[in-house]
């Protein structure tokens, strides 16, 4: 379904430098039993966030009131593993609109783009700068400018450009999704199927 438009996002950020965070950590399989898309945010990072009794684990970043914001800055190879889109639904439902990492798993990145969460790939150096800046001052704001394809650390003005293909960028800035596009070319698809 069509989603929120994404143009410029200015927000504080939550740092999660752990590497190889897989989708089973983002949303464990036992919470995939819903038949609707809403409500997954409560179980985002469930087993890192809560102990077996359901009490918040103090040492996990989402339980640290110091950090908040609409941007999640994550470690290398974020979102590996399962293709469950529920992982992105959980991230979105929790309130994040942008995930920054020096390396994303492929399917996860596609899933983000398909529901309107912007995945921003930065260099390892810039990721480290972001982690350091957020950790030394949690009120540090980051600006993600999709039309200009730039991510900027507002405290120092340091920025980096990021890649996104024009088609997806256009979709995200307008809140269009792929199905709108595909439904509009139904006759071309039919012609293709008939000739193959």
């Amino acid at each position: 379904m069509a989603y929120d438009k994404f143009t410029i996002l200015r927000s504080t950020a939550v740092p999660l430098p752990t590497e190889n965070v897989d989708t089973d950590q983002i949303i464990p399989a036992r919470f995939l039993k819903a038949t609707e898309r809403e409500g997954f945010g409560d179980n985002l990072f469930r087993d890192w966030r809560y102990d077996v009794e359901g009490n918040p684990k103090k040492d996990f970043v989402l339980n640290d009131p110091t950090y908040s914001g609409k941007i999640l800055v994550a470690g290398k190879n974020f979102g590996s593993g399962s293709s469950r889109e529920h992982a992105v639904w959980a991230i979105y439902d929790y309130g994040f609109r942008c995930v920054v990492s020096s390396f994303f798993a492929d399917i996860f990145k596609n899933n983000c783009l398909n529901i309107g969460v912007l995945p921003v790939t930065v260099s390892a150096e810039f990721a480290n700068k972001l982690f350091a800046a957020i950790q030394s001052d949690p009120s540090t704001e980051i600006e993600v400018n999709l039309p200009e394809q730039k991510i900027k650390l507002l405290s120092t003005g340091e920025f980096e450009s990021f890649d996104i293909n024009e088609y997806k960028k256009d979709n995200m800035t307008n809140g269009f999704d792929d199905i709108d596009y595909l439904l509009n070319m139904s006759s071309e698809i039919d012609a293709f199927a008939a000739s193959n």
């Binding site: 379904m1 430098p17 897989d22 038949t35 199905i179």
Partner: protein, 468 residues
């Protein structure tokens, strides 16, 4: 003529249109769906007021959350039951072929597709499950998709995809005794890491790959995603054709001859260029096992867990966090460690050959007292064959518990959970934290290694048990 790869040939022939500075509109021949990643897609179709474009190109089965006991009864877990019922309703409403619980061809979606001959060379196949890469073993382009894409395929039979880069991984030579295709793929992932093939579609080639059975090839392609690859595929050959011949959905008669003639053209041209090429020697591969919390953290069963030498920063922190979860220390051997559970099953190693190899290995032995041993066939067909071939009897006599088909303890969505803190040596595909249950500690290995562990109760080199 331009030299092209197998991947190019199949991909390019399925592009309806290339969007300028964007992805390709990519046509999907076969779409598999299951109960967990499809309900929201159907719900959205309803919200849009549109239907399923080509119901005959989609095949459904409930596998992820289903219980593996009492499948003839109503599912006790309310949420699981609702998902399965929703799948039934959606399949009935849109006239989609459903292999339901209890039916002759129920099973894990990636086991029944090949078994029924639905999976064929040259096809494009998707499913809302990352292990869809399994079907690549037939020389198909097969990969996992998210629920938004499931919706796209249902609505339009297409998805929007950018073409991946191409990698060829060749494994040459002959595998030693006790070394299986699972060891090949765990070895490759351990060499290139859990993210080593991200952005690529992998073609597996070389004499060691060509000598493998279809089932063994499926194990390799299945785990392509565990090194980050979009998918993996193997050129079809006589082994492929022999497997498919006579299968329920395979072409028959003149259609078969025509199909085989086409399938024989599906190979990478000599001189075609890949973005990346890797070559391994089969003789370097030994029985493998994972010691950490991603599939790239694998070693030979005989090796020690790597030390932190050369690691720094978040890399080192993440590594130590992983070992802490597993209860292991850097530098120590894995061999000899006590194990609590073994699990034989999943879309990686839940096919009849896997069960045969475990049964052959444990025949006349008893599982160790400290081991709980679960064996979960990948499908009803596998279960039936295991009974008919007398494998179930052998396994039950050895102390294994046979359960009914499903994904089961691979992802522990149902009750098949490894308890917190316990060690499970598993033939499945992921050793992520909590994958087999909250706090569960998973070590991935081949069916042979799992069989050896079941008998000794400890991490064991299967070649040593062979000698005894």
């Amino acid at each position: 003529m331009e030299k092209t790869t197998l991947f190019d040939k199949i991909w390019d022939s399925h592009v309806v249109k290339s969007v300028p500075a964007g992805p390709d509109v990519f046509f999907i021949d076969k779409h598999f769906i299951h109960e967990v990643t499809s309900p929201v897609a159907f719900l959205n179709l309803e919200k849009r007021g549109i239907g399923v474009k080509n119901p005959n190109r989609t095949v459904a089965t409930p596998d992820h959350n289903v219980p593996t006991v009492d499948q003839d009864q109503t599912i006790k877990d309310k949420l699981s039951r609702m998902q399965v019922e929703r799948l039934r309703e959606n399949c009935a409403k849109y006239r989609i072929e459903l292999h339901d619980l209890g039916s002759a061809h129920h099973g894990i979606v990636h086991v029944i597709g090949p078994e029924l001959g639905i999976t064929q060379p040259g096809m494009t196949i998707v499913c809302g499950d990352s292990h869809t890469s399994t079907h690549g073993a037939f020389g198909a382009i097969a990969f996992g998709i998210g629920t938004s894409e499931v919706e796209m395929v249902l609505a339009t039979q297409c998805i929007m995809q950018s073409k991946a880069k191409k990698m060829r991984i060749s494994v040459n030579g002959t595998l030693g005794p006790g070394v299986t295709s699972k060891d090949i793929i765990l070895y490759i992932i351990s060499k290139i890491s859990a993210a080593g093939a991200t952005g690529y579609f992998v073609e597996y080639a070389g004499s060691a790959i060509q000598s493998l059975s279809m089932e063994a090839r499926m194990t390799i392609c299945n785990m392509s995603i565990e090194m980050g690859a979009r998918g993996g595929l193997i050129a079809p050959d006589e082994t492929t054709f022999n497997y498919l011949k006579g299968k329920q959905y395979a072409p028959k008669g003149a259609d078969w001859d025509k199909a085989v003639a086409y399938w024989k053209t599906l190979k990478t041209d000599d001189g075609a260029v890949f973005d990346k090429e890797l070559v391994f020697e089969a003789s370097d591969i030994e029985p493998m096992i994972t010691y950490g919390t991603n599939p790239g953290m694998g070693i030979k069963v005989t090796e020690n867990i790597p030390t932190t030498e050369g690691m720094e920063g978040s890399n080192k922190t993440s590594y130590l966090k992983s070992l802490e979860y597993m209860g292991f220390a850097p530098g120590e051997p894995v061999k000899g460690k006590l194990v609590d559970y073994v699990f034989v099953g999943s879309c990686t190693n839940g096919r009849i050959e896997d069960i045969r190899s475990v049964a052959q290995f444990v025949k006349g032995h008893q599982k160790a007292a400290n081991i709980t041993a679960w064996i979960v066939p990948g499908s009803r067909e596998v279960e039936k064959m295991a009974h008919e071939e007398g494998l179930v009897k052998i396994l039950e006599e050895a102390g294994f518990e046979l359960r009914q088909p499903g994904c089961s303890a691979c992802l522990a969505m149902n009750d098949d959970k490894i308890p917190s803190g316990k060690y499970a040596v598993s033939t499945s595909n992921r050793n992520f934290e909590g994958r087999q249950g909250p706090g569960a500690r998973t070590m991935l290995a081949s069916p042979l290694t799992v069989a050896a562990v079941a008998i000794t109760g400890r991490i064991t080199d299967p070649r040593e048990v062979f000698q005894n």
